[in-house]
């Protein structure tokens, strides 16, 4: 039987970056094939070429033995290639069915479409009501729409680019069941993820890219997460250095009965939340996405301004009525979950993106004039200190790979040495080496006396990083307890329980 997909000498050059350098490998029918590599290694670029979003500069793609040119995504779908992106393209106000109908190349009567959708869901155990509005769905459920959309075309190859970064452990398990079933039926799967234990659990083969080149192929079942991470980076992996039994200082960030009204259309508001973070302490906020994390971050950062000055205090000063700029002056920096269009402007250069949040704390403005030299110097420092793969401060944010943009954003805030830092998903889509570096930078910042709040769905991250932990559920926050007092099962259950209660519909 010919290989399902065979790449030979695939090369893609961007201005100043060789994103793929003569990459050759094959995917067999029914194989679950992992694509691993550091941030900026060229994984997304490679699959975008397979799916026809970009064209390779050189090299050949063979599909079931035949050489093909994949002109565009529509051609890819015609061949039988499906792709699920990390960022979904769904209309919140429309139903599941309407969203799927909009994405189809050929329009099918909605009755027929609905019966086909139900059939696919039944076959693969994907529970989803076609008539629910997308806005009411959790991230995992939204991803199911994208998967159903791809499966309706009976793909022979399904590409998934970091599908699990936003899923709960339970949702990940459900996804794996579907993928295994698909593979058993002969559909090949090309799977990109930075979560190496998932790769071990799911994949048959792993192809490892570094700097655009294929450096190794291995069987994940025979490797450890650490050995795969080291293959990706090419050197040993550092552990987080965290002093045991650290003493915390005075309460720094005190939040007292913070509530946000109903904010955006579909966000869950924060409901009467109170907590204290002391100097040197890292507080973790665990929870399934969509339980008020965004509102909590916005309320702390100052994007949402409440009506009670004392609801949020730093060192005893009420900042509840201040906007983001004033709060930054008071020492509070924040990183929202969404990097594109929220934490950074894709069309702007990295230098200009530094002006967005660092202009006051780093003296980039004099009498209304922007000191672009200062912005450039600072950006260069962020790039160097956080090993951001970018040509320089003049690169646009949009040209960075997902993980590198995240590293830049984290660096931009951490190097401002805020006395309070609130971050959401600090290592979202970041490779193992860079995640360790970001964790270390956060631990060091806390050691220097800052109070840090980490909002995340990644339990491993929270357990490794935080001193205390609280769980957010439908906008309410549980009491914070030392992280050592929680067992893995307990946090998982808390979050899982939360999820279970959300799914009653």
């Amino acid at each position: 039987m010919p290989n399902r997909l065979e790449l030979t000498g695939i090369t893609k050059q961007f201005p100043g970056v060789l994103a793929n350098d003569h990459v050759s490998f094959a995917v067999k029918p029914g194989e679950i094939h992992a694509l691993l590599g550091e941030n900026g290694a060229g994984k997304s670029t490679l699959v975008k070429m397979i799916y026809g979003i970009m064209q390779p500069d050189a090299g050949e793609i063979r599909w079931n033995g035949e050489p093909v040119v994949v002109a565009n995504p529509k051609a890819a779908r015609k061949l039988g290639i499906g792709m699920v992106f990390q960022h979904f393209s769904l209309f919140e106000a429309l139903t599941v069915l309407e969203n799927i109908a909009l994405g189809m190349d050929a329009k099918i009567p909605s009755r027929e479409l609905e019966s086909r959708i139900r059939e696919v869901m039944e076959t693969y155990g994907l529970a989803l009501d076609p008539h629910r509005t997308v806005a009411t769905l959790s991230v995992g459920e939204r991803q199911r729409i994208e998967i159903v959309r791809a499966l309706l075309l009976n793909p022979q190859l399904l590409i998934m680019d970091e599908p699990t970064s936003v899923l709960t452990p339970q949702e990940v398990e459900q996804l794996f069941t579907v993928l295994r079933k698909l593979a058993a039926e002969g559909c090949s799967i090309l799977y990109i993820s930075h979560k190496l234990h998932e790769i071990k659990a799911l994949c048959d083969t792993a192809t490892i890219l570094r700097g655009g080149k294929l450096v190794d192929t291995c069987d994940p079942k025979e490797e450890t997460s650490r050995s795969m991470a080291e293959k990706m980076i090419g050197t040993g992996l550092k552990d987080i250095v965290k002093a045991e039994g650290r003493a915390f200082g005075q309460p720094k960030l005190v939040v007292n009965r913070l509530s946000t009204g109903k904010t955006g259309h579909f966000d869950v508001p924060v409901d009467n939340v109170s907590f204290t973070v002391r100097a040197g302490e890292i507080l973790g906020v665990a929870g399934v996405a969509g339980n008020g994390q965004n509102a909590l971050l916005d309320a702390l950062s100052g994007e949402l301004i409440g009506d009670d000055r004392e609801a949020i205090t730093i060192d005893g000063h009420g900042i509840g009525l201040m906007n983001t700029t004033e709060r930054r002056r008071q020492g509070l920096c924040a990183v929202p979950e969404e990097r594109n269009g929220h934490a950074a402007v894709g069309d702007f250069t990295l230098s200009d993106n530094s002006v967005l949040t660092a202009r006051d704390r780093l003296g980039m403005v004099m009498m209304g004039l922007i000191n672009s030299g200062a912005a450039k110097t600072y950006t260069g420092k962020v790039i160097a200190d956080f090993a951001v793969k970018a040509l320089g401060p003049a690169s646009t944010a949009g040209s960075l790979s997902g993980g590198n943009l995240q590293k830049y954003i984290m660096g931009r805030e951490i190097l401002q040495k805020p006395s309070v830092l609130v971050v959401s998903q600090p290592t979202w889509g970041v490779d193992a080496g860079a995640a360790a570096a970001i964790h270390q930078a956060l631990v060091d910042l806390a050691a220097a006396g800052s109070a840090i709040v980490v909002i995340s769905q990644d339990l491993d991250e929270l357990r490794a990083l935080c001193d205390t932990l609280a769980v957010i559920n439908m906008g309410r926050l549980s009491a914070a307890r030392p992280v050592k007092d929680f067992s893995v099962e307990e946090i998982g259950l808390l979050m899982g329980g939360v999820h279970g209660s959300m799914e009653t519909a």
Partner: protein, 361 residues
């Protein structure tokens, strides 16, 4: 039935982005030629008179200057507002109100002399333009009323105000019944800067305004605010730029500059308020802003291009009897082609297979 749909291009090319304005102008000439040939004029001649004569005939250069000046000033203000996605469509109204305020000062100081009269008129013009633009700003920020509609509707109100004032309180006592204000006294008229021509002080002012705006947009926090609010409103809020303040600033700047243009126009070429004062500069400046890629330096060039069509339109009227409306047709065609070109640069057209339309919901 065939169906088409727009698909976003992954990477719109820089070259195309700057090429579209040029392409739009060239296409306008070609289509204009065909159109006027089809309805029985000498199309080639029409295009030649409208686009080339103003450039080749040195007598027309001063006309170009004084027509371009208000277009550049208003277009600069609009380019600032449009950058921030604040759609002030009522610059014509703000321009008229600015001119009326300046007229008011000129009439109150009638017969007086002093260097301070012109600056006072300029301040009054700008303040009035700003005040008029704050109505849509207020309605937008307080009640979330679309600024496109309110600013546009206020334009019609401003035209009525001219008619009222020059028929009533401001009517020229010596005007033998003509509805117009009296001629401004010497101190309220813009000085000519090139003796023997009609080129007035407003022309260099326009260039200076655009240069300042370019500097402000690229080097200051104000400009940064406008750019970031337009590019990513969510990121702007994160960066500490409130949407309300931005809407106000955008409206005040564009309204104030439109008011200034109105003052310069009434104190320069007109030297009195007449019923024919509104000449759609405020609307044409919308084309100028877009043709200049919302960049003040581009606006200078675009202002001259549109001035060419105004001057050329008048030439073509006298030489080949082209109707008055021809200029408007050419200008509208240019905007249409520019916007269409912009869409094609950012998106591409995809044909959806024919069976697609069957049973579509």
């Amino acid at each position: 039935m065939m169906r088409y749909r727009l698909e976003k291009r992954p990477e719109p090319s820089k070259l195309m982005l700057y090429g579209t304005p040029v392409a739009a102008v060239v296409l306008t000439m070609i289509l204009g030629c065909l159109l006027f040939s089809a309805i029985g004029y000498n199309g080639l001649r029409a295009v030649q008179e409208i686009f080339l004569t103003p450039l080749t005939n040195p007598y027309k250069w001063q006309d170009l200057g004084i027509k371009a000046a208000p277009l550049i000033i208003i277009g600069t203000g609009l380019s600032v507002a449009y950058r921030a996605n604040v759609w002030n469509i009522g610059a014509e109204g703000q321009y008229i109100i600015g001119a009326l305020a300046a007229t008011g000062v000129a009439l109150m100081t009638w017969g007086m002399s002093g260097w301070w009269i012109l600056p006072l008129m300029a301040i009054a013009g700008m303040a009035a333009g700003m005040a008029y633009a704050s109505v849509p700003a207020f309605l937008k920020t307080r009640l979330n009323v679309n600024e496109i509609l309110t600013s546009l509707m206020l334009t019609y109100a401003s035209v009525q105000l001219i008619y009222y004032l020059i028929r009533g309180p401001w009517k020229d006592p010596m005007g033998i019944g003509f509805p117009q204000s009296r001629l401004f006294s010497e101190a309220a008229r813009l000085p000519n800067i090139i003796p023997g021509t009609i080129v007035h002080l407003g022309v260099p002012i326009a260039v200076i305004v655009a240069l300042i705006a370019w500097f402000v947009m690229s080097k200051t926090v104000f400009g940064y605010r406008m750019r970031v609010v337009g590019a990513a409103p969510h990121a702007a809020r994160y960066g500490g730029f409130s949407e309300t303040k931005t809407i106000w600033l955008a409206m005040l700047v564009s309204g104030g500059l439109a008011g200034l243009a109105g003052m310069l126009e009434v104190a320069g070429p007109f030297q009195r308020m007449v019923p024919g004062f509104p000449t759609n500069y405020g609307f044409t400046a919308i084309i100028v802003a877009f043709l200049g890629r919302l960049n003040p330096l581009g606006v200078i060039v675009a202002g001259v291009v549109l001035a060419i069509t105004f001057v050329g339109g008048q030439v073509a009227q006298t030489t080949i009897g082209l109707p008055d409306e021809a200029t408007g047709i050419f200008q509208a065609m240019m905007l249409f082609l520019l916007l269409a070109g912009d869409i094609l640069v950012r998106y591409r057209i995809r044909r959806v297979s024919p069976e697609a339309s069957v049973g579509a919901a």
